[in-house]
Symmetry: C2
Subunit: 488 residues, 2 copies
């Protein structure tokens, strides 16, 4: 039997049934990510070691078998759905982790979960700065593949800013190492950063060296309520121009705030009593900034005094978290707002757009108008210090008309974002969900150059095919009703 006639059976003979699984449960689990668009792969591969990864890729490259690398599968864009079938390469079990406190570097296998990495870093008084909302699930490999962001982006940057070195395999099965576990490296082309954010289409990451920072000693949080989003987003500019550098500055629009408080009343009433009165008394149009400073005790205290002074005229309510419970309550609002939106509709289109700081209010004005035009809720929250907003359209996908309006709404949103000088994705990547809009962001010459690089590095087009370049109508994709590990 030649590998070409049945690559999966051939691979199973070579690596055994534990490494090459073809049972339905394994295939179904690997068939989707958080977009919940399910396409069954032929097999799910759990390679035992690097030699197995090389064997898999060599065979895939020889036979043209699609290979979709997978970490936790918490991507929101369909980047991990094996849309052309073939094999899913699951590296979530590769969990070795070692921290060097002298060089402040973490040596990670790709399956290490971010919250575990930060926990081990904290033992050494260190911090892993990138903090996507999925940190309790998402893996090092997956967050590198998507160049994940998070709340601390404005002060600390994104995943890319913390990757010193990568090792792994080219689609041909050849082992490579990009960068080094050194703070400076200027020898040859930088394919490390080309791999970062390429969504598993250029190489398979089997190891990463990540940079850690000294862990801030203190965090101090406060919350400000504004009459509406314009006042809140003007305050963002004032804060940044004052020279303050919040570790996080989260914006919640009126719809988000309202649905989250409603959700709490139903599900987490016990926590409501820790909420500051200013929030409970907020008017229907109120928008909120949730601000955190980190650093030394003195510096954070000074920052909090400065921001209190800055906001005293513009804010109609202001609260600082006086203790751990109060801080926990404030941040719980932010952490639960994504889930709370389902009180506004059963299906969500979630766009992680970015706009320049001066255009934040224009974006929110547009979204308010868009809600009126489409008749759909458009709750929006985001990382106001770096212009990265999570804009949502909530709709019922059993309603064909509402689905159409949601799709048209996203299309209009993306065009507006580009008009404002922004980006169609700040931290989720393209995958399938953003693929219709890639050509709004990039011109022909740019796309051709990217595709030339793809062809040069993956001539047989085996790694995660059908993504980024292949446009799809995401709102029409069927969506599995399934409970994933991060669902509440």
């Amino acid at each position: 039997m030649s590998p070409r006639s049945n690559p999966t059976r051939h691979l199973q003979k070579l690596l055994g049934p534990e490494q090459v699984r073809t049972d339905h449960e394994s295939r179904y689990t690997a068939s989707m990510d958080n977009l919940r668009y399910s396409i069954l792969p032929e097999a799910v591969l759990f390679p035992a070691d690097e030699e197995a990864v090389a064997t898999i890729l060599r065979m895939a490259n020889d036979t043209g078998q699609p290979v979709t690398p997978r970490g936790a599968g918490s991507a929101t864009t369909g980047a991990t759905s094996p849309v052309q079938g073939g094999w899913v390469l699951d590296l979530s079990g590769w969990k070795q982790l070692h921290v060097d406190p002298l060089s402040r570097m973490a040596y990670c296998q790709p399956g290490v979960v971010l919250s575990r990495l930060d926990e081990v870093a904290s033992i050494h008084g260190l911090l892993y700065a990138p903090d996507p909302g999925s940190a309790r699930y998402a893996t090092v490999g997956g967050t590198i593949a998507t160049n994940a962001g998070g709340l601390r982006g404005a002060k600390y940057g994104v995943t890319r800013d913390y990757v010193q070195a990568l090792e792994g395999f080219l689609p041909t099965g050849e082992f490579v190492r990009w960068g080094a576990d050194l703070r400076k490296f200027a020898a040859g082309f930088n394919l490390r950063d080309l791999w970062i954010g390429s969504e598993g289409t250029l190489g398979v990451i089997t190891g990463a060296v990540l940079r850690l920072l000294p862990r801030p000693l203190t965090r101090k949080s406060c919350l400000a309520v504004f009459p509406g989003h314009r006042e809140a987003l003007l305050a963002v500019q004032q804060i940044l121009q004052s020279g303050l550098e919040p570790a996080a500055m989260e914006f919640l629009d009126a719809q988000t705030l309202h649905c989250t408080l409603t959700f709490w009343q139903e599900k987490e009433a016990s926590l409501l009593r820790h909420l500051p009165p200013c929030l409970q008394a907020a008017p229907a149009t109120a928008a909120v900034l949730l601000i955190e400073f980190d650093g030394s005790e003195e510096a954070t205290a000074t920052d909090l005094r400065t921001v209190t002074g800055l906001l005293q005229d513009a804010a109609i309510g202001f609260a600082t978290a006086a203790n751990g419970n109060e801080r926990e309550s404030l941040w719980k609002i932010r952490r639960s707002c994504s889930q709370a939106m389902f009180t506004l509709g059963p299906r969500k289109l979630n766009e992680d757009v970015v706009v320049p700081l001066r255009k934040e209010a224009a974006l929110l004005d547009f979204l308010e108008e868009l809600g009126k035009e489409t008749g759909l809720p458009t709750p929006t929250f985001g990382h106001a210090a770096d212009g990265n907003f999570h804009a949502h359209l909530m709709f019922d996908d059993a309603d064909e008309e509402a689905s159409r309006r949601a799709a048209e709404g996203v299309d209009a949103l993306m065009r507006k974002v580009i008009e404002l000088g922004g980006a169609i994705s700040g931290e989720h990547g393209i995958g399938m969900a953003k693929s219709p809009y890639l050509r709004l962001q990039h011109g022909d010459a740019e796309i051709r150059a990217m595709q030339a690089v793809k062809s040069a590095l993956d001539p047989a087009n085996i790694l995660n095919p059908g993504k980024i370049w292949t446009s799809c109508e995401v709102h029409r994709l069927p969506r599995e009703t399934v409970r994933l590990p991060w669902d509440h």
Copy 2:
């Protein structure tokens, strides 16, 4: 006349003699960089605008004419020598600069000089963090092309960490934009970071958006003298493990210290009186750390107290700069040591190697031994907090035997660096000078992948050909005796 028969004359007809210069003086100036290896180009191009850049590249791509982009020409590796003739594309006159204090971004044309950028940033209370030794000459475009580093690398990173967006031209003459003037961007492959550090071989940069930081309010410097390099480099580890983050921590070995003080006695005797007594009384084997902290008045004062306490046993001499004159004297030692080395020999091989922090003393041990074996001075200084050392071999290139020993010495040094887990270049790049060692750093699969990317993006191989991959014997290259702008 077809462009192919005489591309230079054809281009001159299109763009005029001001933009296409063929006089000897222009060609000689553009014929070399700080390696001083002179190859005359056919013409030096000073494009008036972006359309001219597109015209130039389209014609070069059609006719196979080599194009070598050039900023200040302060590269040390020969990266800017037009070794295959053709055209030098000089963008040092493109000097437009605009700073947005809200987004903390600088919009720069490629010819903006770094010290000018930082000066304008400082007006807004901002800092451009990358600080190569050449900052008073080097341009934005050139430092992006080489991913320049500098003294502040351990705390602040390198050029790459501050580039938000690039715009410019593919070798085919097509305009492209990589990244955006936004803090987050995750849409498509990252060709921005592929261009950064590619030494002008993948694209021509005509604009850059660079990130600025809040400018530290205070700087405080101190100097510690140790019995030898081992004690100094052990102290580096102690300092870093204590959680301190010096903005700079410069190491000078005994040879560097000695030749610099000698140089001063001859050239700058008036400054000598500001030197701390501990330095004037240093024994012949003494090595030095020059440490600077930046931040708030309180934080830097605390840092200085902490480091004083940490070093009180290991250091045989210690001084803090009590005023501006004393600080200036301390840093003048560091700034003049590169020039001072010529008191040890007329020709210098300057290698900007990197090693892991734990291997710094092993590198210096090796260099001491190498000096004995070759009979050549091996003065070494460097950025001790990030393991990036400038190791030198001083020799007389009129002496054939000494030249051979110097070349063999560099070869042995590069092998040692790789054995220690280091890098052959931390901040200068490969150019011509490091090309013989690229294959020590990268395996066949890595080189092939880099070359596949080069072929994909520059199919006619017109941009800066003959660099990085083409090995040359740098110590045999003739060297012009010419006074360049940065020579004292």
